[in-house]
């Protein structure tokens, strides 16, 4: 487990840093129409990027599993299952973001995935592992800090709508929800 600790710490750090920026932006647009438009633009853009990525990967699970394994973070079995499931997860979460059904869950999934990607890229660069990122299936580029920056941009797209959701509840723009979409207590309506 110990070798994974720096990896987990990196992932968490990436998430926290990005959330700080997203929360700041969301706080300042919480009551404005701009915020609403921004949140929707973020969701649509993020979903589009990941649908594109999933399309490149879903046709060739071997190539994806191989490029995941090449990061030398997980054992072969985990890489294979991830290679099989990841494109499906990207599609499911993208549809959630677009449809609005469980969209917050979808945004959390993307934020977590992107944070893991950032940590994976970072450790590959630091360890000097020369590999293709495997980001979009065959259309891949070698790992670089540019890719980390790109993922940071994407993670902001995932976190902005979430942060906006939090701020609107906190500032009283939206009715406070005690439960999830499906289990809202009667008293709150």
């Amino acid at each position: 487990m110990t070798p994974y600790l720096p990896f987990a710490a990196l992932t968490l750090l990436a998430l926290l840093l990005a959330y700080g920026v997203a929360a700041w932006a969301a706080r300042h647009t919480a009551g404005a129409a701009l915020g609403l438009w921004l949140a929707w633009a973020c969701r649509v853009a993020l979903a589009a990027v990941f649908l594109l990525a999933a399309y490149g990967k879903i046709l060739d699970p071997y190539a994806l599993a191989s490029s995941i394994y090449a990061y030398r973070v997980v054992p072969a079995g985990v890489a294979i299952v991830t290679g099989v499931v990841m494109p499906a997860l990207e599609i499911v979460a993208a549809l959630a973001l677009l449809s609005g059904l469980l969209w917050r869950g979808g945004a959390v999934v993307f934020a977590a995935m992107l944070a893991v990607f950032i940590a994976g890229l970072f450790q590959a660069i630091v360890r000097g592992i020369d590999i293709d990122c495997g980001c979009f299936g065959k259309e891949s580029s070698p790992v670089s800090f540019w890719l980390i920056a790109r993922n940071y941009g994407l993670i902001l797209l995932a976190l902005f709508p979430l942060a906006r959701d939090v701020w609107r509840e906190r500032l009283g723009f939206a009715p406070r929800r005690r439960g999830t979409r499906f289990s809202r207590p009667r008293a709150a309506r």
Binding site: S66, Y69, P75, I80, V85, L89, V92, R104, G105
Partner: protein, 186 residues
Amino acid sequence: MRWLGHRLVEASALVLLALVLGLTLNAVRREPLPYDLPASLLLTQSGARVVFTGEARRLFDDAHFVFVDAREEHEFLEAHIEGSLSLPPARFDELYPELRLWTAGQPLLVYGESGNILAADDLARQLLAAGEELVVILAGGLDAWRSHGHPVDGGPEGLLGAEGSAAPAPRSAEPADRAGGEEEEQ
């Protein structure tokens, strides 16, 4: 914290859905990715990708790929994939020029005896280093090919550098003929 908890529940639901979807999709795929694939096949030393028997059969039928046998000559004489050429990695430098004359830049499929792809991987590495653009390795090697009932041949046809080998090679004149023809073109 409560907010985060709800979001994590939603995210878990999506992950669960994706898990079911992904595993189902892999199960109904024409050639499902095996979950117990060894690491050496998942990421080869040479960087060449691995193909499975079904895909290899399609490549065989397309006749665009040239199949290259990475085993020893005497093994090749006993049995090999129909139409393949023999190129043991130990004699690479000596036999590769002759292979070039046969293949003329076509993509190559390399195979060994079994699931142990050490020899095939070594050959693939040398081929890629020599400038071949597309080299793939057959997972499971000749054993898997044979167990699926795909065409296997025996004998010296396809043996490169036949003069040097101990076995008689009646068709060794043919590559030489083609070699002459190729040289004229150049």
